[in-house]
């Protein structure tokens, strides 16, 4: 029984971090039709900034704010000064599909190299702001600590805010419109370019938050979020790349599947499980579970 409870609790924690990454990827995808591999690098970079701020200010929360703000700024800068020129130059041919993805790969490499150069290659730690000792429930300690709770709450609040933004505000409407039909959106007077940059900024902010929430239970080094990127991407694809809800759902499904498989079957199944879940979902629904159209031709 304890094993089951532990598996559920740890899946919640894992899934919520994946959810932030997959949300960031979906945000960029919906606004730009690009899979942003640099997300892992951006998130780590902003987390290093958060780390520096935390050390100097002594407060983790100020560090989180710094990470979110710098994440948004960096995301916006990347879109405005990096992705936009690329889209301008590549207008036709199948390279349209590949070039931006490859460009983000290049960007990832550069960011990680810069991080390694500035901060060195050793592992850093960010201490958690609240206790990491498990709660005491009915006399025994469970695998859920105040810190885990804090992560879950933070992610939930972020998701709610983002959903509110998308569904209830004009800007959100503009974001959705520009993603589906840029031409029509432009005709309606929406500044498509600016909206797209906003999408990247939001994604960058989400990534920064993800990093700050993830690192206290792990370590900070240039490649710290590579695995998270892979799982975040898989989660986003499972969810359908279409909606924020899909991103979160996909992340939870993935988190639960992996944690349960490794707890009950074998700890060697971490990566194979991700692949199995993904291929199962895509065989049944090529566009992901929550996508509105079957087999989107993107």
């Amino acid at each position: 029984m304890l094993k089951f409870i532990t598996a559920v609790l740890t899946s919640l924690t894992t899934g919520s971090i994946y959810a932030l990454m997959s949300t960031a990827l979906v945000l960029v995808w919906r606004s730009t039709r690009v899979i942003n591999f640099a997300q892992a690098g951006q998130a780590v970079f902003t987390t290093y900034i958060g780390y520096e701020v935390t050390i100097r200010s002594g407060s983790y929360w100020i560090g989180v704010v710094a990470a979110i703000i710098s994440g948004a700024l960096i995301g916006a800068v990347i879109d405005r000064f990096f992705m936009r020129p690329i889209f301008k130059r590549i207008k036709s041919g199948p390279i349209v599909m590949i070039a931006p993805v490859v460009a983000t790969l290049g960007l990832l490499g550069i960011i990680q190299a810069i991080i390694g150069f500035i901060w060195g290659l050793t592992y850093q730690s960010i201490p958690a702001p609240v206790s990491t000792d498990g709660f005491q429930v009915f006399g025994s300690t469970i695998a859920f600590s105040p810190f885990n709770l804090m992560v879950l709450i933070s992610v939930t609040i972020s998701m709610l805010l983002l959903t509110l933004l998308f569904q209830k505000t004009n800007i959100g409407l503009a974001l959705r419109a520009s993603a589906y039909s840029p031409e029509i959106a432009k005709l309606s007077g929406i500044k498509v370019d600016a909206i797209r940059t906003l999408g990247w900024a939001l994604a960058g902010a989400a990534g920064g938050l993800a990093g700050m929430l993830f690192v206290p239970s792990s370590y900070l080094y240039p490649n710290a979020m590579d695995v998270l990127l892979v799982f975040g991407f898989i989660a986003a694809v499972i969810g359908g790349l279409d909606s924020l809800f899909g991103a979160v759902a996909g992340a939870m499904i993935l988190g639960f599947a992996i944690n349960f498989a490794t707890s009950y079957i074998s700890s060697k199944l971490v990566f194979p499980m991700a692949f199995i879940i993904l291929i199962l979902v895509l065989l049944i629904k090529p566009g992901g579970i929550f996508s509105s159209r079957k087999g989107r031709k993107d």
């Binding site: 094993k3 532990t6 598996a7 060697k268 971490v270």
Partner: protein, 435 residues
């Protein structure tokens, strides 16, 4: 059609460019043994400077270089200064193969020292043709027992006791001191863990639970799940951790979170057991207290030990900014062994001569190790034993039960014996004068 021609021309041009680049950068053939001049000896090492392996062993090249700098400042070896070329292989076999080949063919090193990693070095050894080129491969930084096989690795000399030896001696220690308690193992799923599993079997210890995890797949969540599962074992089980320091730290921290620290008797394997690093990674001192670990060196914090205090001084002067710990101790020790080997090979330095020097005189070299070196004409195996200690809150390893008890064994089915070895005294000021 025109397009085709242009493309064709382009492809010919690119081929010619590539060919020309290769021809223009041809190196002249090297005569005799490279890497040795009248004033310099060039040594090389391919090792991970990044990643979790880098965390465990990243300080070793710097420590070796510091000792070599110290010796160079004190006359060098027979008048020659030692230069160490360090190449990062990121713990990837392909990079290790190319970097080791670069060391041999591009940097023209005389010998390799301190190569790291089994998956990496086993490939690099063959890819770089170390056997056919007779390149000495001294004091490899890995506990994989396979490197002691002189048919496969004729120029390789191990230094660290193998993981199998560690597991065997650990079996004896556990059986004698924790009778009746179940034993569980959490190990990295590579040669490290597998060698360990074999060692436990050779030591006739039955494991109640055995978890092998893919490298870098342990997260906080997974550690908690593992520990929860293991906490179902009745009594106070012995939990052996055969992983790198970052993973050991994650598991210990997960135990803190689940309040399971007191549930187990913890044993940290040599690779992941460096107390300083564990504390630096956020493990609480209270958790570290009482953790058992095996070592074949004196504790790096034991400044009453003459070797440790001398190495500390060298570290202070030649390795500024790096804190002295077990990996630094290990690196400097290997460097000191290397210097003695070079001296023993004589003024007329050849690769064959170096190999023979280690074979014939290596077992008598001065070193910080508290267990014997076993080099001979038929054995390329270095240290072959361990003593067991317990960590205190300051991260110092003190002998278990108060008295130092050393055991030696082999990597196969040989017996585990108590050792009465006493190591040679430190050469004056840490500068070897052997020949």
């Amino acid at each position: 059609m025109i397009r085709n021609n242009r493309m064709k021309r382009y492809s010919i041009v690119s081929a010619v460019v590539a060919a020309g680049a290769m021809v223009l950068s041809t190196l002249p053939a090297q005569a005799a043994d490279p890497g040795v001049t009248a004033t310099e000896i060039k040594l090389g090492v391919s090792t991970p400077l990044t990643g979790s392996a880098g965390l465990a062993y990243g300080k070793v090249p710097g420590a070796m270089k510091a000792y070599f700098d110290f010796i160079n400042a004190n006359g060098g070896v027979n008048g020659r200064k030692i230069k160490l070329v360090v190449r990062d292989d990121k713990y990837l076999p392909t990079l290790a193969a190319t970097q080791t080949t670069n060391l041999v063919l591009k940097d023209n090193v005389f010998a390799l020292v301190g190569a790291l990693g089994t998956a990496t070095h086993s490939k690099a050894y063959t890819a770089a043709s170390l056997a056919s080129k007779n390149v000495p491969d001294l004091f490899v930084n890995t506990g994989f027992s396979g490197f002691g096989n002189t048919t496969k690795y004729p120029t390789t000399f191990t230094v660290l006791p193998s993981y199998a030896m560690e597991a065997k001696i650990m079996s004896k220690f556990i059986t004698e001191n924790f009778k009746g308690q179940a034993v569980a193992l959490i190990a990295q799923d590579d040669e490290f863990g597998v060698d360990g599993v074999n060692g436990f079997a050779a030591g006739k210890l039955t494991l109640a639970n055995k978890t092998l995890y893919p490298t870098s797949s342990i997260t906080d969540a997974r550690a908690k799940a593992l520990l929860t599962g293991l906490s179902a074992i009745p009594g106070k089980p012995v939990l052996v951790l055969f992983g790198t320091t970052d993973v050991t730290a994650l598991i210990l921290k997960a135990a803190e979170s689940l309040d399971l620290v007191g549930k187990f008797t913890w044993i940290a394997g040599s690779v992941g057991g460096d107390a300083n690093t564990l504390l630096a990674l956020g493990v609480k001192p209270a958790t570290i207290t009482g953790v058992l670990a095996a070592s074949f060196f004196p504790d790096a914090k034991d400044s009453s030990d003459e070797y440790v205090s001398q190495f500390m001084k060298i570290n202070e002067k030649y390795n500024k900014g790096v804190s002295f710990d077990n990996t630094v101790l290990q690196g400097m020790n290997s460097a000191m062994l290397t210097v003695q080997a070079l001296r023993a090979a004589g003024k007329n330095l050849t690769r064959t001569g170096l190999i023979e020097a280690v074979q014939n005189k290596g077992s008598k070299f001065a070193s910080a190790g508290l267990v014997p070196l076993n080099y001979s004409a038929t054995s390329h195996i270095g240290y072959n034993g361990y003593w067991f200690g317990q960590l205190n809150a300051k991260g110092e390893l003190k002998p278990f039960g108060g008295t130092l008890a050393i055991f030696t064994t082999d990597s196969a089915a040989g017996a585990i014996e108590a050792s009465t070895y006493t190591r040679p005294a430190l050469p004056k000021n840490g500068i070897p004068t052997n020949s």
